[in-house]
């Protein structure tokens, strides 16, 4: 192998790696995958809060839903509805969520907590 061949080989290897990287970025990284996980809270369709779900994050806060205040708790990379005024309490029974694509929904209060990030599924029919 001449010096020229080696140079060509090295150039090709570098170029292939670069192309592979670019292609990977374009095709296989869904929007948001590079970001860290975060819980997004919406009330009546408006985003009212985004909380990064790092493992040491610990907090609770109140959001004003359609029928009254609800308390949301964040603890060690997971989030849940802690207190709510609705009659059914379905949102409370949904418990903790921690994985991308999971959500807690309060229909009477029109409150949604969802975890943003690359989820293995695009949606779930139920």
């Amino acid at each position: 192998m001449t010096r020229g061949d080696k140079f060509l080989l090295a150039a090709l290897v570098c170029f292939s790696l670069l192309s592979a990287g670019v292609l990977w970025g374009r095709f296989f990284l869904p929007a948001g995958e590079t970001k860290e996980l975060q819980a997004v809270v919406t009330v009546r369709g408006e985003v009212v809060r985004s909380i990064p779900l790092s493992t040491d994050a610990k907090s609770s806060f109140v959001v004003e839903g359609r029928i009254g205040p609800s308390t949301i708790e964040v603890d060690g990379g997971r989030v849940r509805m802690l207190e709510a005024d609705c009659a059914g309490g379905i949102c409370l029974k949904q418990g903790w969520i921690a994985r991308p694509g999971q959500s807690v929904v309060c229909i009477p209060g029109e409150i949604l907590i969802r975890i943003e990030g690359a989820a293995p599924l695009d949606a779930v029919t139920r």
């Binding site: 020229g4 090709l12 292609l23 869904p30 929007a31 369709g45 009659a87 949604l112 949606a123 779930v124």
Partner: protein, 355 residues
């Protein structure tokens, strides 16, 4: 240095750049997502495209279209609204046994489709199930077990043969006083399909609408692969029993785990068999896959009410309609055409019957 190396490297570089340029547009530049509460559920819309302003405008028009359908189809007059402002469905119900009512073409279309498939199902589905739904209280906060005599009386007021639609005059008429339209198994799917049409009219080619678990997808997902849609495990929260791979299709599920109540140690859910007046008991859940979300919504209710054997037989007879069902005994079955588009992952308590 080898004299050929430079030209070859240049040619390869150009080729690769050209390929990247060509492949680039496959992944759209922007995503727009919105979550709105309407039709008594959460409706999430995600769209992808190159023009963020267009995406946003399209999604908001799609929601407006769903709200319009919802307002026409709502069976409960909003407190404080005058009779004249009540929904088309309220007006048809109020005029039952009296006079035909002029209604919006979308209401006529929903009623005509419902009537057609009701006949096809030999009564397993009926859009005039309103008196039974009222009796059980499934529209309200406190559903309850009604007395057998009252179920029988309500059954006498259920029957689409007494729903008269006139396409020329744009009217609908219920022949007997006390009859009532219930578009609960129709309107959400119909509105979802209309919303998707709005997105398409804005040039959108990649979208997902999740209307409370009724799914409609367009194009392929952000990985340029078919959308991966899970089917909820009917007995375990946060688990799935199967994954569907879908392109330009709907997946709608009817199941026994919603809006139920317990009485005398027995659980009752909200999907009533209009032939008996009682909740249908053959399935835990059924999922219909077909292109039109409106049809999927109606068919999921029909298949839920029919026995597994009849449901699979009927689905096989309908081109472009696929069915996955989990019967009350835990058996998971699906139509043959779904092979290759479904991965069943049965958990404990289920038995996957590949047929």
């Amino acid at each position: 240095m080898n004299g050929r190396a430079v030209p070859i490297a240049c040619a390869l570089a150009l080729f690769a750049l050209g390929a990247l340029y060509w492949l680039g547009p496959l992944k759209p530049a922007s995503e727009y997502r919105s979550d709105q509460f309407l039709m008594d559920t959460l409706v999430s819309i995600k769209v992808y495209g190159d023009d963020p302003e267009n995406l946003k405008a399209a999604v908001h028009k799609a929601y407006a279209e769903m709200r319009r359908i919802s307002d026409l189809a709502d069976a409960f007059p909003k407190p404080g609204t005058a009779e004249a402002k009540a929904s088309d469905v309220c007006r048809i119900n109020a005029q039952a046994g009296k006079a035909p009512v002029r209604v919006d073409d979308d209401i006529l279309a929903m009623l005509a489709t419902a009537q057609k498939y009701g006949a096809l199902s030999e009564g397993a589905f009926d859009v005039t199930v309103g008196p039974l739904m009222d009796l059980w209280g499934f529209g309200g906060e406190n559903p309850r077990l009604p007395a057998a005599g009252r179920v029988k009386a309500a059954l006498a007021l259920v029957g689409s043969k007494d729903l008269v639609l006139n396409q020329q005059d744009h009217t609908a008429f219920l022949r007997k006083p006390g009859m009532k339209i219930d578009l609960g198994a129709v309107a959400k799917g119909y509105a979802t399909e209309k919303a998707l049409q709005v997105l398409k009219d804005h040039g959108i080619e990649k979208a997902l609408i999740d209307a409370g678990g009724n799914i409609r997808v367009l194009g392929r997902n952000t990985r340029s692969a078919p959308w991966k849609i899970g089917i909820k495990d009917p007995r375990k929260s946060d688990a799935i029993v199967a994954v569907l791979q879908l392109e330009d299709a709907s997946a709608v599920t009817s199941a026994d785990y919603y809006r139920g109540f317990e009485a005398g140690g027995k659980r009752y859910h909200h999907i009533l068999d209009p032939r008996t007046g009682y909740p249908a008991g053959h399935h835990m859940s059924v999922t219909v896959v077909t292109r039109d979300a409106g049809l999927a919504d109606i068919l999921s209710t029909i298949f839920f009410v029919l026995t597994p054997e009849k449901a699979l037989e009927l689905a096989d007879d309908m081109p472009g309609v696929e069915l996955i069902l989990i019967s009350a005994d835990g058996r998971i079955r699906h139509t043959r055409e779904l092979r290759g588009k479904i991965q069943v992952q049965p958990g404990a308590g289920y038995h996957y019957d590949q047929g």
